[in-house]
């Protein structure tokens, strides 16, 4: 399977997706509400994207962008799925039912960026202390000890 075939196939499962080819891999931006169904189609459909190797979030000061890096053990092509969520009350559906690794990766994003993953089986802090206030990887986070100044 080549990048071209993936590019032609994506609109058939997500007609509203925005494709971006400027980077190394194909970037697909979709609405957060469509994420779950789109991810299910990617994993169980023709593309067989069974390997979720990176989940993270980027703070753009106006909004947050969830970034999912996906690959397949069969054809080894990687794609990037993105979904923009608002910064005040970020919410997105969990993917832990599709890929088990998402459980831990989403917990990390939850504590570092404050993104609420709907229907997550165990959404608790993983790395930070239980009583930690704020979301450290957001751009406006003020570190009380002032170790890091951006």
């Amino acid at each position: 399977m080549t990048n071209e075939e993936i590019k032609e196939y994506i609109p058939s499962i997500a007609p509203n997706a925005i494709l971006d080819e400027t980077g190394e891999w194909l970037n697909i931006t979709i609405e957060p509400s469509e994420l779950k169904s789109f991810a299910t189609a990617l994993k169980e459909g023709k593309l067989q994207m069974n390997y979720l190797f990176c989940v993270t979030c980027v703070d753009w000061k106006t909004h947050l962008t969830m970034v999912y890096h996906l690959s397949a053990t069969t054809h080894r092509q990687s794609i990037v799925v993105k979904a923009n969520v608002n910064r005040e009350a970020p919410e997105i559906e969990t993917l832990s039912g599709l890929w088990k690794t998402a459980n831990f990766l989403e917990r990390e994003v939850f504590e570092m960026f404050g993104v609420n993953f709907l229907n997550h089986p165990d959404l608790r802090k993983l790395i930070l202390e239980d009583d930690f206030k704020g979301y450290p990887l957001r751009k406006d986070f003020e570190d009380p000890i002032n170790m890091i100044k951006l």
Binding site: T22, G23, E24, W25, N27, N50, Y51, L52, F53, C54, T56, V58, D59, V67, H69, T73, R76, V80, W99, K100, T101, N103, F104, L105, E108, R124, K125, L126, I127, L128, E129, D130, P136, L137, M147, I148, K149, L150
Partner: protein
Amino acid sequence: MYNQTEVIKDTSELGAEGELIINMGPQHPATHGVLHLVVTLNGETIKKIEPHLGYIHRSIEKMCESLTYRQFIYVTSRMDYLSSHINNLGCALLVEKGMQIEVPERAKYVRVILSELTRIASHELWLGAMAMDLGAFTPFFYAFREREMITDIMEETCGARLTMNYIVPGGLMYDIHPDFQKKVKAFITQFKAKVTEYEDLVTNNIIFQSRTKGVGVLTAEDAISFGCTGPVARASGVSCDIRKLYPYDVYDKVEFDEVIETAGDSFARYMVRVKEMNQSIRIIEQLIDTIPEGDFVGKTKNVLKLPKGEFYTRVETARGEFGIYVVSEGGTTPHRIKFRSPGFSNLSALNHMAAGSKIGDLMATMGTLDLVIPDIDR
């Protein structure tokens, strides 16, 4: 959510009769670092394992947002300290890819040799420590005897034994020591003569075999679903060697086999690492005599600026796929940087692998995951 500082919960608080919660760590001889596992037991059988992380969390990703592309490499040595060369290499490759920097052949050869030496050193340490976790103390000294030779080579060439910071964008920080080739060859001779001792001491040891065979089984489907990479996934029959799939530097010029086992148990993970050491030796042998003459570092600007965009590189560390994701806005520092650490994903499979087995087998399962805690916490 419950308090992490609680030592042992009163069993009467829990619904199930005979259920006991044991806090393993954060200070525990077998976790090799500050990892805290909350183990729920029913008698001797493990019902659930919950890892609590963060005891060595330094927020390296946030730190990197204020560091330049020359500086952030030095922080990555402190993540997976047993694969520091390979972490540095991943960062250097990312900057080189983003800025299209030409790397001299000499540097590429030396980087691959150093990466493989690092892999052997890491596996040696793991072998000794893992055997010690299972109660065999002697292999630790045997493994460290060979590992010491590698750290000596590193000390001579890089000036450091653990956090090397030797690989920089464009090549190497300075040229290799004149004795480098001689010492590496001496190491290869020593290693080949002594590797059979590991086989006799550990591999063919009946106690070791009965403690690891069939313990902590991970199927191929689960290994993929949990995002496992490196020896953990390869022991379950998943082909995932980055050096083979997405070759970097001179890995496409050397011949080596991707070691794959299919049993998926602790013994298979052990075998993968032991065989990988031999493959690493094979790679070094092909390169050590043919290191080309020439520059050791390419031409780079003093101030590195990555163009606007997103970059991702991956390298194969001793623990699996180490990925670096950088979002650049065109400045001298990254807007966002994410380190995809292999240990983090491998650890997430621990509960699945150990649930249902006996508490005594947990050491074998966890030992063969080869966890490095600073790599998981970042």
